[in-house]
Symmetry: C2
Subunit: 201 residues, 2 copies
DNA sequence: GTCTATATCTCGATAGAC
DNA sequence: GTCTATCGAGATATAGAC
């Protein structure tokens, strides 16, 4: 089955961590929202909150990877994929009443120097995002003229770092300022940079 | 005098919030680190932790504004100022053992939907950073040839958003991945963008 | 203004019946 | 595997002597 008790606990934790962060999210609240029994938490996650947090981060990471793939699917060029990625992030932010920004940035900052286990899960998530983004940028979009494609080298990786950093930073600004302007501006800037870099390699 | 009890409490709170965030920092810990008495906290900050947090954010904001000013002082062009800003952020991160990243990003994300008072302080801080960065970029650096300077219009503001977003996002990545590479890469990308934008307006 | 003692609450985690 | 009761620690905040 796809929605066992463990999965429901993880789904609830993933949402709560995104909205409230790690320290503000109590294990009891996770249990309440998931509908599971309190004892089930320590049955499925013997190491407690840290284990739950690390696993929930992996769930959130996978969700973002799907979002990233959707943004780049069928686009004429990589810059369009970047624009769609930022637009979708803005949509989620507004639709949630500015409650849902980056899926793991809050948790990553909170646990960077207090929980090695959760921090490693966040680091693994960012690594996967960077790898996925670099691959999409290196592909250059479906509309790239054959023969002009670049190898997925350093430039694509560097642009991927620029895209992810701009997205994460713009989400911090947007959530705090309660405005999508930072996402619109930063997204357009980095999209143009991807466009230029792929056009003149 | 410049270092009264209130100032010492704020200084301790500012440092702890930067390293641990809002929820992980207890008022008791702030008091211990400041050397003040517990009762002094509620004497100077009657509204308690939220008031202390908001005031500490303002202190951190001012410190970053000084850092930004120093990075741009005496540079031949704005892009050099951006490079110095990112380099200084990387230095602080490494020197602190990856404990001190953005002065307020963690607090901003934690309180975005739980404390309006602290969130507003963070929003005011970001607004000031953007304004200051835009002014420096619009100035174009001391080495700008007379007659080629641009008015501090929309472009400088947009570039400022790009710079601050890239810095905040790169700090999230760098702190989590325990590497200064994201700061180096994102900083260089955004510096080049500032350079190009100022050269061809 | 400073300091100590304490009230009240919630946290993560555990024990043990079923 | 599920569920309840509870522990001990630590949180913010308050009261009141000095």
């Amino acid at each position: 089955m796809a929605t066992g008790t463990r999965d429901r606990i993880l789904a609830a934790a993933s949402t709560l961590l995104r909205r409230q962060g790690y320290n503000a999210t109590g294990v009891k609240q996770v249990i309440d929202e998931s509908g599971a029994a309190f004892g089930s938490l320590y049955h499925f996650f013997p190491a407690g909150k840290e284990e739950l947090g690390a696993e929930a981060v992996m769930v959130s990471s996978a969700a973002f990877e799907r979002l990233l793939a959707e943004a780049f699917d069928g686009v004429p060029d990589a810059a369009t994929g970047v624009r769609r990625l930022f637009a979708e992030a803005a949509r989620q932010l507004v639709d949630s009443g500015y409650a849902e920004g980056s899926a793991i940035a809050t948790v990553a900052l909170e646990t960077a120097n207090s929980s090695e286990r959760v921090r490693e899960a966040c680091a693994a998530a960012f690594e996967r995002w960077l790898t996925a983004a670099a691959a999409r940028i290196a592909a250059g979009g479906a509309g790239t003229v054959p023969g002009t494609q670049r190898t997925p080298g350093n430039r694509a990786v560097e642009l991927a770092v620029g895209v992810v950093a701009a997205l994460e930073g713009a989400l911090v600004l947007a959530r705090t300022l309660r405005s999508t302007e930072p996402l619109r501006i930063a997204g357009e800037l980095v999209a143009q940079q991807v466009d230029v870099a792929l056009a003149r390699p």
